[in-house]
């Protein structure tokens, strides 16, 4: 699935990386626990409600390229700046984490484990 399809299905907005929406992704991981994200094998997409600079830093360390923020969370300027330095894509949607995961799972995105 492309990031563009994800954005459409979630009725989401793109906070950063609108030039990268043709990227194909297959797997997602959802967590607010960055300690957990740091134990993952490579996956491109994180769905999270945790919206602070450590979310971006953790994704940088764990090689995550795409973050979907749920429940209307908006990344701050310093988060966008750090994400931009690392060529990341930031997507913001209004849905809850449960609903976001449900929609993407139904659409064919695969879990990591």
């Amino acid at each position: 699935m492309t990031l563009r399809e994800i954005v459409d299905k979630l009725g989401a907005t793109v906070g950063l990386g609108s030039d990268k929406l043709d990227m194909e992704v297959e797997h997602c991981f959802a967590s607010d626990l960055m300690s957990d994200v740091l134990t993952l094998k490579d996956t491109p997409v994180l769905i999270t409600g945790l919206c602070n600079v450590q979310t971006i830093r953790t994704c940088d360390m764990a090689n995550l390229d795409v973050v979907i923020f749920v429940r209307g969370k908006r990344p701050t300027e310093d988060m966008v700046e750090l994400a931009d330095e690392n060529d990341m894509v930031l997507i913001c949607c209004q849905y809850s984490m449960f609903k976001t995961c449900g929609i993407l799972y139904e659409a064919g995105m695969k879990p990591l484990y």
């Binding site: 626990l33 960055m34 300690s35 602070n52 600079v53 450590q54 830093r57 940088d60 310093d78």
Partner: protein
Amino acid sequence: MHQEYTVIEGDFVNAGKASSSVKKTLKQLNVNPQVVKRVVVALYEAEVNAIAHAYGGKVIVDIDADKIKMVVADKGPGIPDIALAMQEGYSTARPEVRDMGFGAGMGLPNMQKNVDRLNVTSEVGVGTTVEMEVNFQ
């Protein structure tokens, strides 16, 4: 190559700056990306620990042709029982650390999983030193 960074207590905004800088250096040196990830995840965990649990400290990194050695030395309360701290799920993190997405008791075990050599020494009331090495091959 020798690099040193200062870590400040509670400075979560800058947590990971040292790891980020090391990541850039290793990428420039064309180290295998999977090895880079192991290095920076372990160093980031140690950096966050020093910021979350101690009163600040230092990150010292030495990069050779075949390996990286990292030392994270903090001034802090120390760890009374290192074996207990190494257990997955054991944590003494404050609520504000958990609010940042950490403090699940996975840091030290995750460092161990990612490095080739880990040595943790600690003195209660003085501080903790975490020494890690990762081979590039």
